[in-house]
Amino acid sequence: MEQTVNNPAQASSAYNFAYLDEQTKRMIRRALLKAVAIPGYQVPFAGREMPMPYGWGTGGVQVTAAVIGPDDTLKVIDQGADDTTNAVSIRQFFAKTANVATTEKTAKASIIQTRHRIPEKELREDQILVYQVPIPEPLRFLEPRETETRKMHALEEYGLMHVKLYEDISRHGHIATTYAYPVMVNDRYVMDPSPTPKFDNPKMDMMAALQLFGAGREKRIYALPPYTKVKSLDFEDHPFEVQSWKDECGMCGATDSYLDEVILDDKGNRMFVCSDTDYCSERQDAGHRGPQHHDQPLGTSHSNGKAAE
């Protein structure tokens, strides 16, 4: 689904370019420059009400609106998929209010807004990844007071976070946190990578693309400049590990991507499929086949695989 628009001036004239007024965009842009200058630090900003409910990416949408220009090509993903409600509605929002080109191809996008996944394809220097963030403060469930978490960040007082991870180990034998896994940015700030699976954490480290994070309800913006050290918190005897699967993707046969489990019936049959729809379809176009692809002979399409931690 490729829409190309040549003249940005044709954008829906009832709104300013990219919906937000210029003064709001300037305020967000100032916050973004500070966020890039202080990697991992949460910059407060005067978040506006957007024409969508909190939890649907109001923070990410405001960041995208402040960044996007008429020559950009926008991709929006929700849990890796381009075709889910949230992704489709945000893509249409900017197609309508900014008249920008949109794409589902990771490689063709200049701005990628994401809810909870990082594309499998390696991002480039000329791309910007915008995250929708529900709760920007990694310490919030440990310390509910903003005044205190501010102090903890100021003093680099992150012992509590290690205690939380340690409690995981003492209870489960391993660190059971699987998403929103806290990271240390540039050896200074502990940051919430937003609820991406921890599978995606290593991709943040030294990524070539600029990463911007927007939390609309909590009114915080933070950022990771390109080539910035991002380390997942762990212990020497319990090093950080990502999820792995015994199965391959049922459609494209990938063994290196993040897989979603799909329940097929009430007899225990299920399949695994790439969460990144563009990655999966690109592999299928290149001729890769998984056991449950419709090209494959019937009878081989079963899977008893089990997600392994």
């Binding site: 300037r26 100032r30 630090y41 220009g69 501010r150 200074r188 390109p226």
Partner: protein
């Protein structure tokens, strides 16, 4: 009291507020994300006396009634004041310690830079951005930069950068997460030096 100029004497600002400010911001965002990398100013704007084109474009894109601007004595002029008040609506201050954006020339007196706000440990973002108007920026290896945004290392040369600047900058880097971010603004070229960048002087 600054005499109010007649509207006819004012220079124009951006031709299209939305697209022009976006283009300038994207250049600044790229520059800030890639410290020391030199970017061309993406458009041409008339600059009032005292300011060059890059500094003017920066202020038109980023400043408004919520931000206070300080102009060093060698940048301040009636034309610059009137231009910024008309197009940005920004308050213009005489005291650098209250500035959000400070504009100065490299060949002027840099004693003020120690007075610029650096933020505090809880809100390091409440700091000033210094726009330093320079004659030229090049990739000659006078300075070797390292830090977030730089893959291996980045070379940068700003002719005429005095030792006092480097002394201040070394101190400023040490204050992280507090500190002042610097934008080097040549007439048509921009490079940024965020507080995270380490400088090795050759």
């Amino acid at each position: 009291m600054i005499p109010q100029p007649r509207t006819a004497d004012l220079l124009r600002g951006f031709e299209n507020a939305a697209f022009d400010s976006n283009a300038v911001f994207r250049t600044l965002l790229d520059a800030m994300a890639h410290p020391g990398r030199i970017y061309d100013l993406p458009l041409d704007v008339p600059a009032p006396a005292g300011l060059n084109k890059s500094a003017t474009a920066f202020l038109l894109a980023m400043a408004d009634m919520d931000t206070t601007i300080w102009l060093s004595p060698d940048c301040a002029s009636n034309a610059a004041n009137a231009h910024l008040k008309f197009h940005c609506g920004s308050p213009i201050t005489e005291t650098p310690s209250t500035a959000d954006f400070a504009v100065a020339r490299l060949d002027g007196d840099l004693a003020f830079i120690k007075k610029l706000p650096i933020g505090n440990a809880e809100y390091p973002d409440q700091s000033a951005t210094l726009i330093l108007q320079v004659e030229d920026i090049s990739n000659k290896a006078d300075m070797i930069l390292q830090g977030p945004g730089i893959k291996d290392s980045q070379s940068l040369s700003v002719p005429g950068l005095p030792a006092a600047f480097h002394a201040w900058r070394a101190e400023n880097h040490h204050l992280f997460p507090c500190g002042v971010d610097v934008i080097f603004a040549a007439d048509h070229k921009i490079a940024a030096l965020p507080r995270t960048t380490r400088i090795e002087i050759r």
